[in-house]
Subunit: 206 residues, 2 copies
DNA sequence: ACGTAAACGGACAAGGTTGTCCGCTAGGTC
DNA sequence: GACCTAGCGGACAACCTTGTCCGTTTACGT
């Protein structure tokens, strides 16, 4: 006997559409738990299975996928919340001559805290429009500080915005495969030291 | 009816043990074809399925696995052949004051040509003893040039061998996700420019 | 020529991941 | 307190990858 076709009779995996603050309480809690779990898991690695996120959040896979239709959507949400913080910092530092270096440092700190996410962002950057927009946003926020730093004579004149992304990628690469935040933080410090001064000895120090 | 147990009656996937130059001609050709295919595929990405290697080499999967029992063994072989070249270069440059920079440049070129392999090497470094030994070998080859460069006053005094690996990882990171050799080569050039001089403006250039 | 063992190749089992389906539970409202 | 629907959860199909198995082919010594 053929099973009755019940398609459409149940909500199924209909994605959650309401804004997060209008959700039913249990849904809101689950959403938060999922984001927390994802943040913890994506901190150390980009290789996180969706079922791990669900388990850690204490929800079923169905719930996870209803809130975030795929891994990219989940990552995008985490990334957005990072960008918000970055925008605030940029606003606070606006005008300061060393704002550029403060923001650069903050980008590195971002990788220290969410290494896996940074990897994911890089990998998906070609395919995911949302991530591209975030990238563009960071560009905008850095353009002013970059100009100011050059004007103040504390930054090489030939450094471009593209170079900043390059430096970001360099920092991320240096943190590849490290086991935890502490190790990444240590490496980030050293990378900044190296990058700022360069490794070549200035011609004559006397 | 139970199938007769034929285990051991056929050579099966018995690994090839003879030295490569004593193999039967078809086996030697296949081995070479596999290595060529792997080199091409690992050039752009670490995410290469073994069956792709087999297909590209024009051999069956069984053949591939008999020559190289797993992906690590295949990667190790490629890596070894790179190391041989690096050793030759180190020998040729021995004593030259700028040997350190030449070798550093060569490491970057290695990533440009075999990016996927570099990623793999980094990722497996904790688990694979063979890779660890290669790393150690590079360390040995760089120690002298590093000392000489400092003595010649063309390298910051506080740069350590660990920093060299860090710089290597930075370069690799900067090349993440780039589509081809050409793009990687361009990035490698810029990274070297940035790393050598640093991005901070020297106090007073006057 | 010819026989033997080395080598081949592709089917396949095992393991793991993604995203969907659908029967049930329980929050919020009247 | 009862209803109704948003939301839950976990089984599962589909897919991919790794490494093994075993019947067949072929290089090479005699």
């Amino acid at each position: 006997m053929a099973r009755t076709d019940l398609s459409g009779c149940y909500p199924g995996a209909v994605p959650v559409t309401a804004p997060p603050d209008q959700l039913r309480r249990d849904a809101r809690d689950n959403r938060a738990a999922i984001l927390d779990a994802a943040r913890e898991l994506f901190a150390d690695s980009a290789d996180v299975a969706m079922c791990q996120v669900a388990r850690r959040a204490g929800v079923g896979q169905g719930t996870l996928y209803r809130h975030f239709p795929n891994r990219s959507a989940l990552a995008a949400e985490l990334l957005d919340s990072y960008i918000v913080g970055f925008e605030e910092l940029a606003a606070a530092e606006a005008g300061a001559p060393d704002a550029f270096f403060v923001l650069l440092r903050s980008l590195f700190d971002g990788v220290v805290d969410l290494y896996g996410l940074a990897v994911l962002a890089r990998h998906d950057v070609e395919t995911d429009t949302h991530l591209k927009r975030n990238r563009e946003r960071i560009r905008e926020l850095l353009a002013g500080p970059l100009r100011d730093a050059k004007k103040a004579g504390i930054l090489r004149r030939d450094v471009s915005l593209d170079d900043v992304f390059l430096i970001f990628a360099m920092g991320r690469g240096a943190m590849d495969g490290l086991p935890d935040r502490a190790a990444r933080a240590a490496v980030a410090d050293r990378v900044i030291e190296l990058i700022l001064d360069g490794i070549e000895q200035p011609a004559a120090v006397a």
